[in-house]
């Protein structure tokens, strides 16, 4: 079951950098990067080459704020170098979230207002609990409660964009209001906030916010996450989201809430004793701020000295930490005196000078005179104790000699050394090897200390502890790297690696490479009670269309008829048919040469029995697990396992895959399915819920011939403009595939999302990313991308995220001609689209397009997108005009439909 689940999402970003850990307060130590803007770069080049004449006019700007003697010097000097570097940094902005429950004047209606006073694309992601609900699931609120502009997310949540409010007064509040009818059966409203700009989620103490409307709500009082209690906020960004969005704030400040405990405890009471309350909690968000620094260098012809002028619009006190270098090695040295005022030497390698504030305005400047014959001037800027600014990870380097200047233009801005003198606290950026060899050095010192002192015993104890801590740190580091990327993923690396694999080699991540999937059911398929028999009848037909793999619905006994709430995994009698029919249908598909994927729901499993607290977490059947098999971080199922290694799915106990016995049992079960039923591979449900490394385990144990995981989280596309760049989204999917070690592919949700935007809004330019490649997963790791345009969740009768109506064939023209492994949805094959889909599949097969086919995007404009695949097939989608280039290749039209056309090279 695919859900965009919200709730106690544990942030599991592996890329996360320790320095953003929630320990520190408002300002994080960070090193900020800037990159020279190209246009300025050109400027400076021109200056260099032309050796600007004396009394250059260009000077004026640079010196405008500094009309002192320096200018005089400048006037007589030759402008040798000038460049402006942008400085990007993030700053923490503090604000608050407030929750207000109030009665609308002169009416029975109550209104819940959630607001936030920080700028951003705020979205309220919410659901309700009804009176009598036991679990932690959210439910969809009744439609009359939904504010205009709300979008349902699956069947349990609503997303309501928060609007800029005038009513709440003051400086730009964003708020959403929910009307509450007093006699509905709603027990509580649950919500989290999402900033669509950054993808960060804002939670309450690691849990959802909960506003109780009747007071009996959830008896786990001392620990409950009821808004109004004095708690802090924790905030997490969407998995693998931008680092900058990860902040944690301390305790909440003001609380002016009602005391619910005095109220009557009858949950069913009709007249509620709702009380007004108002509660606010501080939050912090990181926003990026752009500044710049301009450096100009002049040579004084009389004294042969170099005059540097550094000017920046950074606010506040800025200290420049600088030095010079004598040769190309960029080794920091201290130049000869004199130094500007307010300069101190730092260790013996650099100088620190406070920059002078500009007269009347933000920013500051400094000017430095250094000898001739130096190779360059190095600096970094220090904004406050913890914020350093450098140039794309390196020191700023200003060439002082003409040879270094010319060298500089060929030498890319990379390279350069670590800032040498930062002490260990400041130098958070130090490379790992440095860091760890530092440790070894320290240990040696400890050894030395111990030996020189007689008080050996206590010392060595301390040494032991610190060493063990270092071991832990190192192990954690090794763990996270091993875990996250095996091997390190880069786009190029994969492209290269893919080339080495011959296309016929079968591996579970790709099958043969020529697979075409059919999703063999929809959301209603369980209704007849004999789906297996029905789809069996279609086997030959599907085979003749050209499908090589069929994905059948989840086979296990399930609480929900569709099969996604499995209970007894070994009971394969489902609403789709019984086990014998299942075997029969699998056999039939094998006969017609189609492989069969079983839909394996591994993330969660419904319990058979309640524990002593009345919580459903005890299992029966052959896998009679107890609550140790349930993750610990969903309080509503009181699991005793470890914390979840992924996101939680709230409707059922999430299985703790870190438990050996669970994995062992699941492997055994999967192997049993392979042997007993004859499944060839897996479609893995809700793999966001647990670590991909476990998936690798399962796949290694079962050696399927194809496996695909459903890693579905939301693109930031629903409100307003969808970002052209969806790299973060596809990276999350790639990261998952990586965690499985490439043993499974993943549905290319990114491509579907981008197709939505492109087709719906006629913005076909979206179909090419900044590097001219397909913008979805298929652009980065085509062999593992399983492309689709619709499934039982997004379409069918659920329609959670339906493909733009009437444009499905454009979608198929895209995925069936492109690399990746395309999936066709049942409902589309058995519709009027069938002839078109058949034609496209036969073009794909005829031209032997496979998951690693090469693609060249030849057009990506407002109303038309076109690409050439393997130099054999050309395709265009969109209403605009396109003809494949008439060069040596001759193109003949192969198929044509509404707003799309396919050509074959002849």
């Amino acid at each position: 079951m695919s859900t965009v689940s919200i709730g106690t999402l544990q942030h599991h970003s592996l890329r996360e950098n320790p320095q953003y850990s929630p320990k520190s307060k408002a300002f994080k130590p960070c090193s900020l990067n800037c990159s020279p803007q190209t246009k300025f770069f050109f400027h400076s080049r021109r200056f260099c080459n032309f050796r600007a004449p004396k009394h250059s006019h260009v000077v004026v700007k640079a010196a405008s704020a500094a009309e002192t003697a320096v200018v005089q010097t400048f006037e007589s000097a030759e402008l040798f170098f000038k460049e402006t570097f942008p400085l990007k940094r993030t700053e923490t902005v503090e604000g608050k979230i407030f929750v207000r429950l109030d009665q609308v004047k002169n009416s029975q209606i109550w209104q819940l207002t959630v607001g936030c006073n920080l700028p951003g694309k705020w979205i309220l992601h919410w659901g309700v609990s009804y009176v009598g609900d036991v679990g932690s699931e959210w439910d969809q609120p009744p439609t009359e409660m939904r504010p205009p502009g709300s979008i349902p997310i699956k069947d349990y949540a609503i997303e309501t964009p928060m609007k800029k409010s005038s009513s709440s007064g003051g400086d730009g509040f964003y708020e959403a209001k929910i009307d509450l009818s007093p006699n509905s059966a709603i027990a509580a409203i649950n919500f989290v906030l999402k900033d669509d700009e950054t993808g960060a989620w804002y939670q309450h103490r690691g849990r959802d916010f909960k506003v109780p409307l009747v007071d009996y709500v959830q008896d786990d009082a001392p620990d409950s996450n009821i808004a109004g209690a004095k708690r802090g906020f924790s905030i997490w960004s969407g998995a693998f989201g931008p680092l900058s969005s990860l902040i944690l704030r301390g305790e909440a400040s003001t609380t002016t809430g009602p005391d619910n405990s005095t109220n009557s405890r009858d949950p069913k009471q009709e007249s509620r004793s709702l009380e007004r309350f108002y509660d606010e909690q501080p939050i912090a968000k990181q926003v990026s701020v752009d500044n710049s620094v301009t450096v100009s260098v002049r040579k004084c012809p009389e004294t042969a000295k170099n005059h540097l002028h550094v000017e920046t619009d950074l606010p506040g006190d800025v200290v420049i930490h600088w030095g010079v270098c004598l040769d190309g090695a960029k080794k920091w040295e201290i130049p000869a005196a004199p130094y500007p005022p307010e300069t101190i030497a730092f260790k013996d390698k650099a100088l620190r000078t406070r920059l002078q504030p500009k007269d009347g305005g933000d920013g500051c400047w400094g000017s430095f005179t250094v000898e001739e014959g130096l190779e360059g001037f190095l600096f970094v800027l220090k904004l406050n104790e913890n914020t350093w600014l450098n140039c794309m990870g390196n020191d700023f380097y200003i060439p002082l000699s003409s040879s270094s200047l010319s060298a500089r233009s060929t030498q890319s801005l990379s390279g350069g050394t670590q800032i040498p003198e930062k002490d260990s606290k400041e130098n958070q950026e130090g490379s790992i090897s440095k860091y760890t060899s530092g440790i070894i050095k320290e240990i040696r010192n400890l050894v030395g200390d111990i030996s020189s002192e007689k008080s050996q015993k206590t010392k060595s104890k301390e040494a032991q502890e610190s060493i063990l801590q270092e071991i832990e740190k190192l192990a954690a580091e090794a763990y996270s790297i091993f875990r996250s990327s095996i091997p390190t993923f880069t786009e190029e690396a994969v492209v290269e690696a893919e080339k080495q694999i011959s296309p016929v080699k079968i591996c579970s991540g790709t099958g043969t490479g020529f697979e075409i999937l059919c999703q063999g059911f929809n959301w209603e398929s369980h209704k007849s009670g004999r789906w297996y028999m029905e789809i069996k009848e279609k086997a030959a037909e599907l085979s003749s269309i050209g499908f090589t793999v069929i994905w059948l619905p989840p086979p296990t006994e399930s609480i929900s008829p569709e099969g996604y709430m499995p209970r007894d995994l070994y009971n394969l009698n489902s609403r789709y048919g019984n086990i014998d029919q299942l075997k029969e249908v699998v056999k039939k598909f094998h006969e017609v040469g189609i492989k069969v994927l079983g839909d394996a729901v591994l993330n969660h499993r419904c319990a058979h029995y309640k524990n002593q607290n009345g919580v459903w977490n005890i299992y029966g059947g052959r896998l009679n697990w107890d609550d140790r098999a349930v993750v610990a971080d969903d309080p509503h199922f009181q699991g005793r396992g470890n914390k979840s290694s992924g996101d939680n799915f709230h409707a059922a106990p999430n299985i703790d895959h870190s438990q050996e016995f669970v994995r062992k049992d699941l492997k055994e079960w999967l192997c049993w399915l392979r042997e007993e039923i004859g499944y060839d591979g897996w479609r893995l449900d809700f793999v966001r819920g647990f670590w991909g490394g476990y998936v690798k385990d399962y796949i290694d144990a079962t050696e399927p011939s194809f496996a695909v995981g459903e890693y579905w989280d939301s693109l930031s596309y629903t409100y307003g403009e969808m970002d052209h760049n969806q790299d973060a989204h596809r990276q999350r999917i790639i990261d998952w595939i990586n965690a499985t070690n490439g043993t499974a592919g993943a549905f290319d949700v990114t491509t579907k999302g981008i197709l939505h935007a492109a087709l719906e809004r006629c913005e076909y330019w979206r179909l090419s990313d900044s590097k001219g490649k397909p913008p979805g997963v298929v652009g980065w790791w085509p062999s593992r991308a399983v492309t689709f345009i619709e499934n039982h969740d997004t379409g069918s009768t659920q329609g959670h995220w339906r493909f733009p109506g009437g444009k499905e064939m454009q979608g198929y023209a895209y995925i069936l001609t492109h690399p990746g492994t395309p999936t066709v949805f049942h409902d589309h094959i058995f519709s009027h689209y069938r002839p078109e889909i058949e034609a496209l599949i036969s073009i794909r097969n005829r031209n032997k397009i496979h998951c690693r086919s090469t693609i060249k995007i030849t057009k990506a404009e407002r109303d038309v997108y076109a690409a050439i695949i393997d130099e054999k097939v050309a395709v265009k989608i969109g209403p605009g005009h396109y003809e494949p280039p008439s060069g040596q290749q001759k193109w003949s039209s192969a198929y044509e439909g509404k707003d799309y056309k396919v050509w074959e090279s002849s």
Partner: protein, 536 residues
């Protein structure tokens, strides 16, 4: 985030309660003051690491004289009976197809963690299919050299496993040119009764046949070893202390008798005899004719069970009245196991002669075919090439062969305990291990240990410990294997605990003798020189 997970209270408490002796000066002092008396009593891992450190530094920086001193120091120590040298295996894919170091950062961090933990060194699988990938005699060592340097810089030792096999599971293959030959000449691979080839290593029947573009596999292996020796000459004896010679499937001296086992099966079947490739059959035929029973040379036992069948389902392995006790079976099984021993002899003598002038020890790995050990016929061992039944000791001849080549014997499965074996498999890893060790003792072969590569056998650490202490003398233990699981919070804390428990009984610091000053000085001098080396 991960840091906080690992730094869990579990580890910390442990920290507070158990006192370690690492960084203990005693060890350092011992080395400096009397170089040949390296191991005094049972030193901790920490202390050991100090020792190694110093040794290497002095050896490298001062003179040849010192180097040989350090070597002899090492061998003295390795003979000391009360210390297990712990190695940790590096990931199988440490070096990629393209000779790059995979996850180098993780390995760098991992090496340092191991060093701090007091681990002696790491084991590195060196794959034939990577080094000699493209063409015969075209070796590409760069990746492995880079790694050896990393290991050296981390102050660890290196045990190299030369892998002349492939691993489908880990996507490691034989050299491309060998696979190509195999396509046109499939008889270079082991073959079972049904004609299925095992393509992860060459059949022992071709050892001395010129099947590889005119050269015999033994020649090719020898040249590989020579190339290894010369390429790593600067590491030999200093960083590299031992070599495991690849002897067959998974590097073990055995037939791939379990090539078709279905993994999901709880019970490991008896496996099948692998004597059906063209060359094996012809050797068998000659042998049968020579012994006057030409009819016995037509194939393996016709009544043996198949891979996953219970051994009792057919006549051959049946406990009572099974044909394994017949004269024919004795003929066949003797031949089958002797072929294996001769193969081991060929490769181990090759290795020990190649590396004889270096100061490194050669190891060979013998499998622990423990399922069905409690039956009378020991079918798993029989199919793997060990003619070991209740009535015949099949390991004597093997250990004798090791002894004659002065090789040490590596035994896997030291983490397996009887109680965790499925009852129905009639398996007994513990008894088998004891049998092999007895044979080793008898022939003076030193035993080294490994855990089974399956991650986390239940109660594994306790079992390993049991196998390493007391009367069980083990030269080194190679723990399998570094990777994500190894460093995971589920595993690493217990590994740490294990390492430290191995070195439990160190002296309290109060019990240490005086005379610290001189030692401290020399230690500092030598560690300074290490600093220079590392930073150079």
């Amino acid at each position: 985030m991960e840091v906080s997970v690992i730094g869990s209270s579990q580890v910390k408490t442990e920290l507070a309660y158990r006192e370690l002796g690492f960084c203990n000066l005693k060890g350092g002092k011992a080395v400096i003051s009397s170089k040949n008396r390296v191991c005094v009593g049972r030193s901790t891992g920490w202390r050991k690491s100090g020792i190694r450190f110093t040794l290497r530094a002095t050896a490298a920086i001062q003179s040849e004289q010192l180097r040989s001193d350090s070597v002899s120091g090492r061998s003295t120590r390795s003979k000391s009976r009360d210390n297990v040298r712990l190695f940790v295996g590096l990931p199988l894919d440490t070096i990629s197809d393209c000779n790059a170091v995979n996850h180098a950062r993780a390995i760098a961090a991992g090496l340092k963690a191991l060093k701090l933990l007091g681990v002696e060194g790491v084991e590195l699988p060196v794959w034939w299919g990577i080094v000699e990938k493209e063409a015969m005699g075209k070796y590409e060592w760069s990746g492995y050299l880079a790694l050896a340097e990393m290991v050296q810089n981390a102050g660890l030792k290196l045990h190299v496993s030369l892998c002349f096999h492939a691993s489908k599971q880990h996507k490691l293959s034989l050299p491309e040119w060998v696979s190509r030959i195999g396509e046109s000449e499939p008889s270079i691979f082991f073959t079972d009764r049904a004609g299925r080839q095992y393509k992860e290593c060459l059949s022992l029947a071709v050892d001395d046949l010129p099947v590889l573009d005119g050269k015999t596999p033994v020649q090719v292996y020898r040249e590989f070893c020579e190339s290894f020796k010369s390429s790593f000459s600067s590491f030999m004896g200093s960083t590299i202390t031992g070599i495991s010679m690849g002897l067959g499937p998974d590097g073990e001296l055995r037939y791939p008798s379990h090539q078709r086992l279905v993994k999901s099966n709880k019970i490991t079947g008896p496996g099948e005899f692998q004597c059906y490739d063209k060359n094996m059959l012809s050797i068998l035929k000659h042998h049968a004719e020579a012994t006057g029973n030409p009819l016995w040379g037509l194939g393996g036992p016709h009544d043996a069970s198949t891979y996953n069948e219970s051994p009792n389902s057919n006549n051959f392995f049946r406990d009572h009245g099974g044909s394994w006790e017949s004269p024919y079976a004795d003929f066949f099984l003797s031949w089958y196991s002797n072929q294996l021993i001769s193969h081991g002899e060929r490769l181990l003598s090759l290795a020990s002669s190649t590396f004889s002038e270096t100061a490194i020890t050669v190891y060979g790995k013998v499998p622990l075919m423990h399922s069905w050990y409690k039956t009378r016929s020991h079918p798993s061992e029989l199919t793997a090439g060990y003619y070991n039944t209740t009535t015949r000791d099949g390991y004597e001849a093997v250990t004798e062969m090791f002894a004659s080549n002065s090789c040490k014997l590596m035994l896997p499965g030291m983490d397996l305990s009887d109680e965790h074996q499925p009852h129905e498999s009639l398996s007994s890893p513990e008894l088998l291990l004891a049998q092999i060790r007895t044979a080793c003792r008898k022939h003076g072969v030193e035993v080294s240990g490994q855990n089974s590569s399956a991650t986390g056998a239940p109660g594994g650490f306790e079992q390993i410990k049991k196998n390493l202490v007391g009367d069980n003398v083990v030269d080194l233990f190679s723990y399998q294997r570094m990777g994500a699981y190894f460093f995971s919070p589920e595993h690493f804390p217990s590994f740490t605990k294990f390492v430290r428990s191995l070195n439990q009984s160190e002296l309290h610091s109060d019990d240490l003798p005086e005379e610290k000053e001189e030692a401290a000085d020399s230690l500092r001098v030598s560690s300074d020189s290490v600093v220079c080396m590392q930073e150079a």
